[in-house]
Symmetry: C2
Subunit: 301 residues, 2 copies
């Protein structure tokens, strides 16, 4: 059985790598510079490895091995944190800080109904919200800067674990005087011959809507891409074309009195909303426990 490096010393090393300065790294660890310096030296002795180039340079310079060790130290430290977090999560589930990422085509429309429910059922939960495109949210999730994502499935979310929450059907949004507005339901087939407006690239809603209509991506005229669902609706109201909006957004008030008619499609298509989290997160069980409440908010009128 080999002797394991001390987590404290690993923390010193990681802090030193982050700050590039003994003194600042020391105060970040709430110890004196001498302690941190001695800790690094002791670590180098225990590992029998040169981590820093001791050339008397102004700033500490890491050897290649040193950088490698720093990377492994980071993962070891977060694995240790996971032990403590698992215990903390079991102590009082669904409490404490939770960093939630939401895509822009869900957030503004769902949160007004979701937040009161969450405050009601999990009063000790402290939600930190961040709204961004799927791709960036997934990056932040994998980087550990977010704990949980609320987005539209399927998505390229790597090795994250996902849980579907419910269907969000698409509705056709038309200018009020459009000839199709007279019909009870809009056939998907005719959309291909209309001027179909979409969100700009990067919004998953764009791809999901095209998929739903079985249209190729190129069919969408690029100059008419909107930057948000609100502006998209305004464009429809101006008679520039038609679009698909998620029912969630309509219920969330995206129309806001604009002269736009929404009609169901002749075949129910839509997107599936879902949660995503790091598969190895100590709080995975908690997140699953959150799902019913969110699903309820999605299904609510």
């Amino acid at each position: 059985m080999t002797t394991l490096p001390s987590p404290r010393q690993l923390r010193y090393l990681v802090a030193l790598a982050e700050h590039g300065h003994f003194g600042r790294a020391a105060s970040a660890c709430a110890v004196t510079q001498s302690t941190l310096s001695a800790g690094i030296i002791a670590l180098e002795q225990q590992l029998d490895a040169a981590l820093l180039e001791r050339t008397g340079a102004k700033r500490p310079v890491f050897t290649p091995l040193g950088l490698e060790i720093v990377a492994r130290a980071r993962t070891a430290l977060s694995a240790l944190e996971a032990v403590a977090e698992t215990a903390a999560a079991a102590r009082e589930p669904l409490s404490g800080p939770l960093r939630l990422g939401i895509i822009p085509t869900i957030g503004p429309f769902l949160l007004p109904r979701l937040m009161p429910r969450l405050r009601d059922r999990f009063p000790r939960l402290k939600l930190w919200l961040r709204e961004d495109l799927t791709e960036r949210l997934v990056e932040a999730l994998e980087g550990g800067r977010l704990d949980l994502l609320l987005l539209a499935l399927p998505c390229a979310c790597g090795d994250a674990e996902t849980e579907p929450l419910g269907m969000d059907p698409f509705l056709a949004a038309l200018p009020q005087d459009h000839r199709l507005a007279a019909r009870e339901r809009v056939p998907i087939a005719v959309l291909g011959s209309e001027r179909l407006l979409l969100l700009e690239d990067g919004h998953c809603l764009r791809e999901h809507a095209l998929d739903a209509c079985s249209l190729p991506g190129a069919a969408a005229g690029e100059p008419f891409a909107a930057t948000s669902l609100y502006t998209l609706i305004q464009m429809v109201a101006s008679g520039l074309g038609v679009t698909l909006v998620p029912r969630l957004a309509v219920r969330g008030g995206v129309l806001a009195g604009a002269p736009v008619a929404v009609r169901p499609l002749d075949r129910e298509v839509g997107r599936t909303l879902g949660l995503a989290w790091r598969a190895r997160s100590p709080r995975a069980a908690e997140f699953r426990g959150l799902a019913p409440t969110i699903a309820e908010a999605i299904a609510a009128e």
Copy 2:
């Protein structure tokens, strides 16, 4: 910044889970029972979590949370070990114990040429060999019981990292008096109408050979599956049918004087031999350094 659990106490906990007995776990950790007991209690207090059911039972019983914590403690400990191992590997690369798994259609034929080369170039390397089917080797690799695999690609080796070492072409093996033995090269197309003998299920060589001939798996008569390349050759010698053998095995002496003719095929097909290791292994760089030597042994006459 949260307070991290002590690795020592985590080790106590894991040992207790493994031995199910305070005294034996303690001696496994080279401490007294009292130390281990106190360590577990201190860990429970620091985590503020009940890990054991303290019912005065004969054997320690873990709570569900306790088992979860044990699992996370294991990964945290191995992450810490990885730090130390990275330093050790950098100190003297390609030395120390290396647990190598090899599939049966490579091992007996390559090792006689490989081992002297390894002893020559890496005299401090201590090889532990295990021969088994691909599937079990991959299991052992992921379970940490093996460090490195030598097998035929492509294989379902999960998230392991692989490095190709070289091509091992297939040759047709025929009874010496077989009519095809008179030809310089054997056309792949005619093999479908011959009685094709293969290794039994589980050997990757079986699938790779069928793939090479673009034959469906069902085409192989099950009653004629052999358990090793040696017995397969004996079956060919007895006139039961024909087969494909890797050139590596022929050069390794699999024929052993049997009345069997080997002929190249009309199109060069074969399998790719390669190495596989856990992507996060601290010794990944070492393993890559091993590849040229093995490739040389494969390519050698």
